[in-house]
């Protein structure tokens, strides 16, 4: 292999990797600290709302990933 490690081979692949890393960062410190307030949104604690934002963002990123992976016939 050209690189000693497996890395994305297309711009879309790099974008997907960045989205995955972004999702993990969104649910951990220090980002989680921004939402660590005793505030309510839609009647729910902000931390709960943010947790579900992350959950649905994971679904959205994987849906986009399916289009990328299956779109170029690269299973």
């Amino acid at each position: 292999m050209r690189h000693p490690f497996v890395l994305p081979t297309s711009r879309a692949g790099w974008g997907l990797l960045a989205a995955f890393v972004g999702l993990v960062l969104a649910g951990t410190w220090p980002v989680i600290g921004l939402f660590n307030r005793a505030a309510l949104m839609f009647g729910l604690p902000l931390m709960i709302v943010w947790s579900y934002v992350i959950i649905f963002a994971c679904v959205a990123v994987m849906l986009i990933g399916n289009r990328i992976v299956e779109g170029d016939g690269h299973e």
């Binding site: 307030r37 931390m47 959950i55 994987m62």
Partner: protein, 496 residues
């Protein structure tokens, strides 16, 4: 609680699960590990979705998570976040693991490790040590099952008898139908849990607030006990560092039953489709957690936080819902314990006994089914009945080890140069640190013990790999044609 209905409903659930598990065989012969171990790699996206979802939503969701909400607050949502991340892990790795299994004939995680590093010893070692965590996990779930039967029967079914009933049922349908039983029963249990969680959560909310608006509950918490709405939680023990490192360690713990479940899919695309929608299932945690928050004011003097939903239901909900709660909680614990029991029997037979005694494939397949019985009768049942105080510690150490196997997977998916000795050295170094920081000095600086283990494990793994011979090129090429097909094509040209 004087009504007999909760027990009738709960036992009715057990009977239905038994019937579904037995019927799951559907005429297939169970004399090969392809069938008994991975259901002939035949599961469609809906079954796989419910199989993985129900397997990961354990009794913790119905008992532990509301208990955490009751005692700590929103800190419990680290579970929802890491479960969503596990779906990302399944999305990326699942299709590759499936292809390994399909092309190289793997039926267990340890088989894949032994094959990649050409080392049956490394495969056997990982099978054995993963078994420690798996057995401890199955025992905890079995204890939860027996406790539910004890409560639903008003004490008529003692814990020892509950353990025998639950394990007896699981043993029969696992022996007869293997992984197909796990697929069908988990699908049923997954659907049941979803319905029960929402029914109980909404009914409890209505009984506590007079409506279905959750805002009133959280506005009171915000005004009177705001510490429940933020980290480090009401008990002050869920720091940012523990939240973060717990999520990272849990995310990289590739538990063997999950690996086997990926290999049960009918195609690589099936896994990707199931994983994509998997996080939506984890909304099931929300209604149960709301009951935990309700308990803060309704049941302020509870001795055991993890009984908050059961106690609240028995005091405030109709008996039919109490029965459904019993069935749902039992479903959660059974759906999590049976894949672990199956996985231990499968992996010990395939990855330890077969290479050790040079057994034939046909005999190994037969032995794996019978191996269920000693695993249940000699390990899970006695430990569940005895409920040793160190069980949670065994589980933590076992799960800590699971994360320390990470180098084996880095060498399988990302780094061709990884060597057998590098993986072994990394695992042993990481495991020693994890054990020390679990038992002797618990989670120093509020950082998860498994994370400390990885901090030593990974550099040792890289250094020893670079100093020792790599696995033979043909084997590495075989794996990386799947793990990185485009990258490997470039390599092929370069070699030519």
């Amino acid at each position: 609680m004087n009504s007999v209905w909760p027990l009738v409903i709960t036992l009715g659930y057990v009977a239905m699960t038994m019937a579904i598990g037995l019927k799951a065989r559907a005429g297939h012969r169970m004399d090969t590990l392809e069938q008994w171990g991975v259901a002939g790699r035949s599961m469609g996206p809906v079954t796989l979705y419910l199989l993985i979802a129900a397997g990961s939503v354990s009794a913790y969701t119905f008992m532990g998570a509301p208990g955490w909400a009751y005692s700590k607050g929103v800190a419990v949502f680290y579970v929802a976040v890491y479960l969503a991340y596990l779906a990302l892990v399944a999305w990326y790795f699942g299709p590759k693991v499936w292809k390994f299994g399909e092309q190289f004939g793997h039926v267990t995680q340890a088989s894949a490790i032994a094959d990649r590093y050409q080392s049956p010893a490394l495969g056997g070692l990982s099978a054995l040590v993963m078994a420690v965590g798996s057995v401890a996990y199955a025992v905890l779930q079995t204890v939860g099952s027996a406790y539910i039967l004890f409560v639903m029967s008003g004490g008529m079914i003692p814990v020892w008898l509950g353990v025998i009933i639950v394990l007896g049922c699981i043993a029969v349908y696992l022996f007869v139908s293997g992984q197909r039983a796990i697929g069908r029963t988990n699908a049923f249990q997954g659907a049941l849990m979803l319905v029960v969680a929402w029914a109980v959560g909404l009914w409890a909310l209505h009984s506590a607030t007079g409506g279905l608006d959750v805002a009133a509950l959280f506005e009171r918490l915000q005004a009177e006990n705001p510490e429940f709405l933020t980290l480090p939680g009401a008990r002050g023990d869920m720091s940012f560092s523990f939240w973060t490192t717990s999520i990272i360690v849990s995310m990289f713990s590739f538990m063997p039953p999950v690996w086997t479940q990926w290999m049960c899919a009918s195609s690589a695309r099936t896994i990707r489709r199931s994983a994509t929608w998997l996080p939506t299932y984890y909304i099931v945690i929300l209604p149960m957690v709301v009951v935990g928050f309700i308990g803060i004011y309704s049941l302020p003097e509870l001795a055991r936080a993890d009984t908050v939903v059961l106690e609240y239901a028995m005091a405030n909900l109709p008996v039919v819902l109490v029965g459904l709660l019993g069935a749902g909680t039992l479903a959660a614990s059974m759906s999590s314990s049976e894949p672990f029991i199956h996985s231990v029997a499968l992996s010990i037979t395939k990855d330890v006994l077969q290479p050790l005694f040079k057994l034939s494939d046909a005999f190994t397949a037969k032995l794996a089914r019978w191996c269920l019985l000693p695993v249940m009768a000699l390990l899970v049942a006695p430990l569940a009945i005895a409920e040793p105080g160190s069980l949670v510690m065994i589980l933590l150490v076992g799960l800590g080890f699971a994360s320390q196997v990470l180098p084996a997977f880095i060498g399988m998916f990302f780094w061709p140069r990884a060597s057998k000795l590098g993986v072994m050295a990394g695992i042993l170094a990481g495991f020693a640190v994890t054990v020390t920081f679990t038992t002797v000095w618990s989670h120093p600086l509020g950082v998860h013990a498994g994370f400390w283990g990885l901090l030593l494990n990974l550099p040792v793994f890289v250094a020893v790999s670079l100093l020792t011979p790599p696995t033979q090129a043909s084997v590495v090429e075989r794996f990386f044609r799947i793990a990185a097909p485009r990258g490997f094509r470039r390599s092929g040209r370069a070699l030519d």
